[in-house]
């Protein structure tokens, strides 16, 4: 499978889209920089080290923490559902919805549910599932995929939104953003209050207290997990951290890395249905622990660190490649640098073998990752694996290696190469398609050195 060249070309040629992607990721990048600057947040590097260590530890003893979580959730009156696959997770929800006659479901943003195509599966059973995160809601109406992990509709303008609302909700065309948001508030409020099930993801799962932690700015997650009678959390196995007391380290990193905020508007920690005497909150509480390939990543000690990801999006905002091609040109739901690393592991390296090569290895992602995932190093490991299976350039590198061990041959070959630089063949043509190539210097350094030393 080769790269989606023509789709990428279209994205690069779309000046409005280029501006939207570059300036919006730039803004988030700058907010993050300011928030973690040494004079403002001197503990930043220390927290990164701690967070990476906590995640590494949790993953190394994941079996223990999973059981601890289950125990705590049970103690709180909730139930843990173990799902080996996305289908199992969806099937559980479908069955639950049917048993409870809950035809309307509200959802807050969850990459994990997108990963398993939950909405599509639910739709097949005539269950109305409404996305309540504003950007996701707009995309759902428009029938599009999210563009960015945090700003899903980053590629849409107010005019696009007005059109969607007009066409899908029968609302008069209105391009005032505040009005658009209030329209969504009004429409979705009704859904929250009438839905039979609320589905969320989880930013963190607290093993000691059975807590599901969700951070957000809008309030739709709070409504999703508080208003309907049933709350279902869908979370990957890797979301666990040992204790509630570990939370400040992660929260301090998450908000700042994502948008530059020390804390988002709402951080919810919930576990179990409403307690005796509580006047609201769900009556049933489920945590679906999802494998769907995570145990495969867990088994590779070199690649395991990719599971440390806390989905902050900082790597997307820092990546010069993402900032050009945007989220839609990545083959899977997870885009950006972390997407490049986990997509081949979940889907097999042979599916999109170009993906780990679509990087200049600049290292900006590793620099900003709050849990110190060394993405460039993981990309190199994937590249090694891919060429082992499919060594299409091996003969070129064999010749290259042969020459490079023989300085005389190298010098001769290079001389010939320099003479051919004017031609437009192969990689030279590819280079020239985008920029000029300098004229070859008449003498190499070695030539000049010989002259100088005479």
């Amino acid at each position: 499978m080769s790269a989606p060249d023509s789709a990428i070309r279209q994205t690069l040629a779309n000046a409005n889209l280029q501006l939207a992607i570059y300036s919006n990721t730039g803004r988030l990048k700058n907010h993050r920089s300011k928030a973690v600057a040494p004079d403002r947040f001197p503990e930043y590097q220390d927290l990164r080290t701690r967070a990476a260590a906590i995640k590494r530890h949790t993953l190394a003893f994941l079996d223990v923490y999973l059981l601890q979580l289950e125990h705590a959730v049970n103690d709180n009156g909730g139930k843990v559902i173990w799902a080996s696959t996305g289908e199992e997770a969806a099937d559980f929800i479908i069955q639950l919805a049917k048993d409870r006659e809950a035809n309307l479901i509200v959802k807050s943003k969850s990459m994990t549910t997108e990963e398993i195509h939950l909405n599509d599966r639910l739709a097949q059973h005539e269950l109305e599932t409404v996305e309540t995160d504003l950007g996701e809601y707009i995309l759902q109406l428009a029938g599009q995929r999210p563009f960015h992990i945090l700003a899903p509709a980053i590629h849409m303008t107010r005019h696009d939104v007005a059109k969607v609302f007009n066409e899908k909700l029968g609302i008069e065309h209105d391009t005032v953003i505040e009005n658009q948001a209030m329209t969504a508030r009004r429409v979705l409020r009704e859904k929250f209050l009438n839905a039979g099930i609320g589905i969320t993801g989880a930013n963190f799962l607290l093993a000691d207290s059975g807590g599901v932690v969700i951070v957000e700015n809008e309030g739709n997650a709070r409504l999703t997990l508080s208003a309907p009678k049933i709350h279902v959390t869908v979370a990957g196995l890797e979301k666990l951290i040992p204790r509630a007391r570990d939370l400040p380290v992660f929260l301090d990193l998450l908000g700042r890395s994502a948008t530059g905020q020390p804390l988002t508007s709402y951080t919810s920690i919930v576990s179990g249905p409403r307690r005796n005497g509580e006047l609201d909150g769900p009556e049933e509480f489920y945590v679906i622990l999802l494998d769907a390939g995570r145990t495969k990543l867990l088994a590779d000690p070199e690649m395991r660190e990719s599971l440390q990801c806390i989905r902050c999006g900082a790597c997307l905002n820092a990546c010069p490649v993402y900032r050009k091609i945007g989220g839609h040109n990545y083959p899977w739901v997870y885009s950006g640098p972390i997407g490049k690393v986990i997509t081949p592991q979940f889907q097999g390296v042979e599916k999109d073998p170009w993906l780990p090569f679509a990087s200049s290895l600049c290292g900006a992602c590793a620099e900003v990752c709050p849990v110190k995932i060394d993405i460039p190093s993981l990309l190199l490991k994937l590249r090694k694996e891919i060429v082992q299976a499919n060594p299409e350039d091996r003969r070129y590198f064999r010749i290259w290696a042969w020459l490079m061990q023989r300085p005389g041959m190298y010098a001769l070959a290079a001389k010939i190469g320099r003479a051919l630089m004017g031609f437009n063949i192969g990689p030279l043509a590819a280079w020239r398609s985008e920029r000029d190539l300098p004229a070859a210097p008449p003498k190499s350094f070695r030539d000049l050195w010989k002259q100088r030393k005479k």
């Binding site: 990087s359 200049s360 290895l361 091996r394 590198f397 490079m404 280079w431 350094f445």
Partner: protein
């Protein structure tokens, strides 16, 4: 008795940007070093390593190690090649105990050019002069793997009549990335044009960097855009007498 410095010019400087290498020699000699050029040198093996061809990379890396093992000091006019040697050779030979020993003995002696200069006491002996508006491009490996942010800027600060103007996108990758530049030419080209926009905003007439690969990328994009801005290696600026 002058100190000796062996230079590893790197294949790209050797073949495409020899003036940068010569400028480095001038600078080192002016600072009192006897410069040694070992003829056996070729490449640090980064192209094969980055492409996943570890076996081929190891063969060429071994040649580098053999060539320079007994040198006292090795100076390199490239951040990415230096980082390949000092940061990635151990990955390449992770399972070869003997090679690892040799690498551990070698890498403390390998310096990127600006890294090397900053450790020297007599920099004002250079008496460099470069009366132009200059902007500096942080090459990725130099910046992130070698931690070189201030060092090259301090060196530029010592050059008479040089006006250094920072570009907004100084730390953003130029888009070269080795074979990435041709395998993903469209993306690479777009990344370069973003840098060019940022360069133009500064009003600088010259772009300086530690890596000739980056300079080749930027020069190619500047030239394609019809801009008359020059690109040069830090060594060329420091060797300049105005």
């Amino acid at each position: 008795m002058p100190r000796r410095a062996a230079i590893f010019v790197t294949c790209i400087v050797d073949q495409l940007f020899p003036n940068a290498g010569m400028a480095m020699v001038d600078v080192l000699e002016r600072l009192g070093f006897e410069v040694e050029f070992r003829d056996a040198q070729t490449c640090c093996a980064q192209p094969a390593f980055n492409s996943g061809y570890q076996k081929e990379a190891r063969a060429v890396a071994r040649h580098f190690i053999d060539t320079f093992a007994d040198a006292e000091t090795i100076v390199v006019p490239s951040g990415s090649c230096t980082a390949m040697i000092t940061h990635h050779y151990t990955d390449l030979f992770a399972r070869d105990g003997q090679a690892l020993e040799r690498i551990r003995a070698l890498t403390p002696k390998v310096f990127e050019f600006s890294q090397f200069l900053l450790g020297l006491p007599n920099l004002d002996a250079l008496a460099a002069r470069f009366p132009h508006k200059v902007t500096y491009h942080d090459s990725c490996h130099a910046l992130r793997e070698l931690g070189l942010k201030d060092a090259p800027r301090r060196l530029l600060g010592q050059v008479k009549d040089l006006e250094l103007i920072e570009m907004e996108a100084a730390e953003e990758c130029c888009g070269f990335g080795g074979t990435f530049s041709v395998k993903f030419a469209q993306i690479s080209g777009a990344m370069a044009r973003t840098k060019v926009d940022s360069i133009l905003e500064t009003g600088a007439t010259h772009v300086v960097s530690l890596d000739s690969s980056c300079l080749m990328q930027l020069r190619g994009s500047l030239s394609r855009g019809g801009h008359k801005i020059e690109t040069l290696h830090l060594a060329e600026v420091l060797a300049s007498r105005g």
